[in-house]
């Protein structure tokens, strides 16, 4: 982490961006995309581009794109990306056009992350000013969190692999980031658009509505409101203007209206597109139904496939409910505890979703690792960061090896591969837990700086 920070100083932001784009283009020109699109870590039944090509072909042959349980995505993606599956340019790699689209999606996401990070940092400094803590913080290193986050997102091997490996993760990630950007910059139609599209493409970003509501109601991340009141009590001044604004319902209603408008628009388009193939019910059954009922048990880097391969039919519904409620139960306590930091809440939600979703892939991890970059300043005291970094590197190296041992050589079995998947899940859990406790410690540190009391080092 330290080396990276030093290098950032010497090598400017835009150089890194251009280098990552060139690296992606080089990888695209390798033959057959380095077989990345056949890796289970990269392409899942939901994000595989090959399945999108099959769905498009089925649609062109006047059959339902969901026939044969191959394609499970949105019909709008079919209309948008479908023609790209057919165009073949002489002498170029097969899916060059789609790879270029995903490179562009990655760059757009990085730019949006950067500007959101900048506005977050501005809000952070403003809140520090109103707390009169600027001098204490000035001593320690402060990084431009927007730049760091954007570069982490672009240069992350997971993102590069998801981009080159022909999956639809870059587009899904772009929708999520668009939603958060819109919410941070108070562009309510854009936030609603991003949220609706992200939920439409994959079901899980629906829970991001809670951070978006907090972002629109209260504003970007800031220390707890209590601290401002305490500071003003200390000073003996009660300046209402210097307090961060309280929760306002106006933007929320505005957001609800725009979300409704965009949802109706998207659903009408989907309904028209699938009119002769069973309509919207067929679409919901094949997309959301497929996600929720975990029909496909092919191995991936998550933990659900192994479990549902061995569960008895009688208990299958019960365990489906358990796994999905697992995500839902975490939403409320986190929302209560972190309501003053909605962007961080969004990061935690994205991390939990990408760990517990039905078909995770490295593209989902790429998203939350990029969002982690927004909080480098607040999370600078996070424990186990080296352990996590080495863990991620180790899992991403071992997991293909175990897959090869299991499937191709036949000398291993599913337990080998599932072991790396479990380690990966453990690493993500450690990351989320340590991240949340580091953020709460940061808040405690601020409180101790204000009140002058000695702080607790661990919660």
């Amino acid at each position: 982490m330290e080396k990276l920070k030093k290098k950032l100083g010497s090598f400017s932001f835009w150089n890194w961006v251009i280098a990552s784009i060139i690296f992606r283009l080089i990888l695209i020109y390798f033959p057959k995309n380095l077989n990345l699109s056949s890796r289970p870590e990269v392409s899942t039944p939901l994000t595989s581009f090959r399945r999108l090509a099959e769905g498009y072909w089925l649609k062109q042959s006047s059959m339902s794109p969901y026939a044969g349980s191959m394609y499970h995505g949105s019909p709008l993606l079919l209309s948008l990306l479908g023609p790209l599956t057919l165009k073949r340019i002489e002498g170029q790699p097969n899916h060059l056009l789609y790879s270029l689209v995903s490179v562009i999606a990655d760059v757009v996401s990085a730019m949006l992350i950067r500007s959101t990070g900048q506005s977050l940092q501005l809000a952070y400094f403003r809140s520090l000013e109103s707390l009169d803590l600027v001098k204490q913080i000035e001593g320690s290193e402060v990084h431009s969190s927007g730049d760091v986050a954007a570069l982490v997102y672009l240069c992350n091997p997971f993102t590069i692999v998801a981009c080159v490996g022909l999956s639809t993760s870059p587009i899904e990630n772009m929708a999520v980031i668009l939603c958060l950007y819109g919410a941070c910059s108070r562009l309510i139609p854009l936030a609603a658009f991003g949220w609706v599209i992200a939920t439409h493409l994959s079901l899980y970003p629906a829970i991001l509505i809670i951070p978006v509501i907090f972002l629109l109601g209260c504003g970007p991340d800031s220390p707890p409101r209590k601290l401002f009141l305490q500071r003003q009590q200390q000073k003996g001044v009660l300046n209402q203007a210097k307090l961060p604004p309280g929760f306002s319902w106006g933007p929320i209603i505005h957001f609800a209206f725009w979300a409704l408008v965009w949802s109706v628009y998207v659903l009408v388009l989907c309904g028209i597109s699938l009119k002769q193939f069973g309509g919207l019910w067929e679409m919901f059954k094949s997309t959301y139904g497929f996600i929720l009922t975990v029909e496909d048990l092919s191995p991936n880097i998550g933990v659900l496939w192994y479990f549902f391969a061995e569960v008895f039919e009688f208990f299958r519904n019960f365990f489906l409910i358990v796994f999905h409620v697992n995500i839902l139960f975490i939403i409320l306590p986190l929302a209560i505890r972190l309501h003053h930091r909605p962007c961080y809440l969004a990061f935690v939600y994205v991390a939990i979703c990408s760990m517990l979703k039905s078909y995770p892939s490295v593209g989902d991890s790429a998203l939350y690792l990029g969002l982690l970059g927004w909080f480098v300043n607040e999370l600078s005291d996070m424990q186990f960061s080296l352990f996590l970094f080495c863990g991620y590197v180790g899992v991403s190296l071992l997991s293909p090896v175990m897959h090869n041992l299991w499937i191709w050589r036949g000398t291993g079995n599913a337990n080998f591969y599932f072991a790396t998947a479990m380690v990966y899940a453990c690493l993500q859990i450690v990351l989320v837990v340590e991240g949340v406790s580091a953020m709460l410690n940061h808040d405690r540190k601020l409180r101790s700086l204000i009140t002058g009391k000695p702080q607790d080092s661990k919660s």
């Binding site: 044969g68 562009l187 309510i188 854009l190 658009f193 628009y265 028209i272 009119k275 002769q276």
Partner: protein, 401 residues
């Protein structure tokens, strides 16, 4: 198969009289049964092990014949229970012969096996026939026939009194087969079905068949065995069965334009050559066997129209009009003239016009819907909608500022 997913119940009521009106105008010939529009072949080899080489050679020979006479791979379901071509005991790797002169390699370049090895089970066979598959079974493994299909079902292997042995471990019984055929008939999965069985006591396998439109022929009767034709001393096993050998001998004399009838096929089987009695059962099959050409089941008399445009499902009623059942020579010229394309356009407008005329007087919204939501317009509408999203977004953001 064309379902009208129209939410307005009024239009449902209007459709029925319109369709009846249209069908009575457009059709001079009787339209009570569907026209023959496509051909399918289900070829099943049920035996494993090297010494059952001849069963696989039988099936592959039929596969070759059926492909040669015009049925494409998409319409053939080939089920082979074992792999003889790449068997370690095969002296000629990747080659399967049905004659000791080794003139023909049956396992050539374009053999597409749909069910291989242990996938050939009674359960999968019955699933193929009845069409009840799991959701994730690919289309190439499904029998996607409809009420205008003629299906050839050829089974070979070891059998006995009212059963057929699968994989040396399970049996298909005659009542299972009869039940599957009955289900197929109820689900309108075939117009006519020819079952050809080459096993010992083959005729007993269709004792229980009662469905109309089903013809069945077996290589031997109850109490008789079916024998192999000759032994290939080079390969080391018998390479073909007698019944299939003589069937192939009949077909090798034919090409795609020939008019030989089924009765000539059935009468070509000589009991002294077969060393068994080839017995066929007409059952409730309406047509006289002299009138039915063999290509009704073994070939495909559909003409192909080459087009680069996206294939949209054509209405089945009119595509049968151009089937040249009497003279096959004209079929070649038809495709060059491309008249069927024009007729199908007319067919589509005919489909929509009656509703439009009736609808205009009663429900202007439904005519508006029908005009703008025809098959070709849907895709462009969705594309316009998608493209319009971006300026809509820009405008909404500008408005809110």
């Amino acid at each position: 198969m064309e379902t009208f997913n129209n939410p307005k119940p009024v239009l449902h009521l209007l459709l029925l009289p319109c369709l009846l009106l249209y069908s009575s105008i457009a059709f001079s010939s009787s339209v009570e049964a569907a026209m023959h529009t496509n051909n399918w072949a289900v070829l099943v080899c049920t035996s494993r092990f090297w010494f059952n080489y001849r069963h696989m050679a039988n099936t592959l020979s039929l596969y070759r014949t059926v492909k040669r006479l015009g049925i494409p791979d998409e319409r053939i379901i080939l089920m082979l229970a074992d792999d003889m071509a790449c068997n370690t005991r095969n002296k000629y790797p990747a080659q399967v012969f049905n004659n000791e002169n080794h003139r023909l390699n049956l396992y050539g370049d374009n053999v597409e096996v749909d069910y291989r090895g242990y996938e050939v089970t009674v359960e999968n066979f019955l699933r193929v026939l009845t069409g009840r598959h799991e959701t994730a079974v690919p289309r190439s493994k499904r029998l996607l026939s409809d009420e205008g299909s003629h299906i050839l079902l050829y089974m070979t292997g070891h059998g006995g009194d009212e059963f057929l042995k699968f994989q040396d471990s399970e049996e298909l019984q005659s009542h299972d087969l009869a039940d599957a055929v009955k289900q197929m008939k109820e689900k309108h999965r075939f117009k006519e079905l020819l079952i050809m069985v080459d096993t010992c006591q083959a005729a007993t396998l269709f004792n229980q068949l009662q469905s109309p439109g089903v013809l069945a022929i077996g290589s031997s009767m109850k109490g008789e065995n079916s024998y192999s034709h000759h032994l290939d001393s080079d390969v080391g096993v018998s390479v073909v069965d007698r019944f299939t050998y003589y069937t192939l001998a009949f077909f090798e004399r034919l090409n795609i334009y020939d008019n030989a009838s089924l009765s000539s096929l059935f009468s070509s089987y000589n009991p002294s050559w077969l060393m068994s009695t080839a017995y066929y059962r007409k059952g409730v099959y309406k047509r006289s066997l002299e009138e039915v050409p063999v290509t009704t089941f073994f070939g495909s008399v559909m003409e192909t129209i080459h087009t680069d445009a996206a294939y949209k499902a054509l209405s089945r009623r009119n595509s049968g009009k151009f089937e040249a059942q009497t003279s096959l020579d004209q079929s070649v010229h038809h495709s060059e003239r491309r008249t069927p394309v024009k007729v199908n356009d007319r067919d589509e407008t005919h489909n929509i016009n009656p509703e439009g005329q009736e609808g205009a007087s009663k429900c202007p919204w439904s005519t508006f819907c029908n005009k703008f939501l025809k098959a070709e317009n849907v895709d462009s509408l969705v594309n316009y909608g998608l493209v319009a999203m971006v300026p809509f977004l820009m405008i909404s953001m500008w408005l809110v500022r």
